[in-house]
Symmetry: C2
């Protein structure tokens, strides 16, 4: 069993060995540029951890790990175009550095390579289901991205709809990474399902927590002044829940604050936070996060392998989530 | 054996049965919009023809046929963005009708479905190689598109490089359509190779012929005044070959004509055509086209099935190519 730092190194080496060094340069340079930008390599590490959970060397899941990391980076390249984002991980985004057309076309070829690398999987009989899993995850990610766009302009969105969007846009790929690692190891279907569920839930819990901390986090812990989301009129879990449970006056006040640029940001943050607090939103959201976290651990407990082997996956989930909100 | 019109109907019905009717609408509406726009359905018909060549019902290749048609339309959606094209088959392009972001994201989900539909293939043992063929073709198409972009700004491009770009950008998918049809039928590797080669060559021949006819076609046959490519400074086979074989004065004259917007279009067409003719370009290009066509037929002849069964594929190639240039 290799630990997380060892698995990360293993993945970095495999990635370096598989960077695409061929013509046309203008197609593959942006591909390599974003792949080398780093990041925590959360998804590939999850695939490798899932594989060795079943007493199979992590190496067996390297193609799946590379596939999910390429897919993740493909989605960043195209999302950054759609969001008109200039900076990613402190560097210029692909389309900012290489132009719109290169962003589109390099993203396309990355999506194709996410499929193509799966052919390197040593357990050949797993390949069709790996391809299928990648497709189902990829479809969910695209649908989630579309819902995110739709929700920006829709007058009302329920918390359930919002959480489903988060599940599709971000948690599905975390779940898929674990499933593809398990598939690479030949795990049974029941274990694949519990692992997928385990992977999905902390992704959602993390997002809920992120929304919570932005408004209610202690500044010394979070490292920034609370209320950034409120200033930016971001439709977070807190805001959506408040619209669901608030009375007419509270809803009208929230919608007014969120419909115009505020001349007094401090006053806006204070007023909106007061409405959230009056409605019991922080407690509700804390409980919601804890429920997702709890259910995740229940699924992990049901995976039919030795308890010790799961420690690294518990650890990874714990590292995402603050113990006490 | 079904004829081409019957196969086209078969495909249209399968497509209609498989249009994606689910949420989010904003993602799938552009997908269905371009798929329903029509076109000749050349690629799916080729896949179906290739399948029944091996005495297997064309129905067996319907998933492969749908896959190549979706892939083709995905590439049109993203290419139209890159080319800033407003009109496609007489209708608004996807990004023009639905916006840039929908064009990118719907294109992405189409590429994923091009893979996903292959799972419906009844010969399950063919699926891994179908997926692999789609990936290899898709990579070539992206590379070809990148070379096309690169060549626009490169000071000089050889005819060989230009023809390779054409092979990648358009002929590879025609070849892949035949190969995927043959794979769906369980054809042997040798037959797959000859069919691929057969599919690739008329695609290139057609492109060469298109360049030729634009300048040297009889207006009553071509249906437009000759010289449109010259007026638009398009770097066709004729132009590239002329730069390769012309003397310094001829090259300088050509480059001058192509470097500035012309105030007198008729004079420009006349002068450039005269240089092409003086260099023997029309004869060279005619011979080149005929060679590609001839080699295509040689490959088709080598496919190990009854000669009559190949008639429809001969017919399809013939319908692309003018008999006498």
């Amino acid at each position: 069993m290799q630990d997380v730092p060892a698995l990360r190194s293993l993945f970095e080496q495999y990635l370096a060995d598989n960077l695409i060094d061929k013509e046309p340069k203008a197609l593959y340079e942006p591909f390599n540029y974003i792949m080398k930008m780093g990041g925590k390599r959360m998804r590939p590490v999850m695939a490798l951890l899932a594989c060795q959970l079943f007493d199979v060397d992590a190496e067996a899941a390297l193609p799946a790990a590379l596939s999910v990391e390429i897919f993740h980076n493909f989605s960043l390249v195209h999302d950054d175009i759609m969001d008109e984002a200039d900076i990613r991980r402190g560097q210029a985004t692909v389309h900012k550095k290489y132009g719109l057309n290169s962003g589109i076309l390099s993203g396309d070829v990355m999506l194709i390579y996410a499929y193509d690398f799966l052919r390197q999987t040593s357990r050949a009989e797993a390949i069709p289901e790996l391809v299928n899993t990648l497709s189902q995850v990829a479809i969910r990610v695209c649908e989630g991205q579309q819902y995110d766009v739709d929700f920006e302009v829709r007058p009302s969105v329920s918390l359930d709809e919002y959480l489903l969007m988060i599940e599709m846009k971000t948690a599905a790929l975390l779940a898929g990474s674990l499933k593809m690692g398990a598939l690479s190891a030949g795990a049974n279907e029941r274990d694949q399902l519990h692992l997928s569920a385990f992977g999905r839930l902390p992704g959602i819990a993390f997002h809920i927590q992120d929304d919570y901390l932005d408004t209610f986090g202690a500044p010394n812990k979070v490292g920034k002044r609370p209320g950034g989301d409120i200033v930016q009129n971001k439709k977070t879990c807190l805001y959506i829940r408040a619209l669901e449970v608030g009375n007419d006056a509270q809803r009208a006040a929230l919608q007014k604050w969120y419909s115009e640029p505020s001349s007094n940001e401090a006053e806006k943050v204070k007023s909106v936070t007061a409405i959230f607090t009056a409605l019991g939103i922080p407690e509700y959201i804390k409980t919601l996060r804890n429920e997702y976290q709890q259910r995740a651990y229940e699924h992990l407990a049901k995976v039919s392998v030795d308890k010790d082997a799961k420690a690294a996956l518990y650890g990874l989930a714990e590292s995402l989530l603050v113990r006490e909100l």
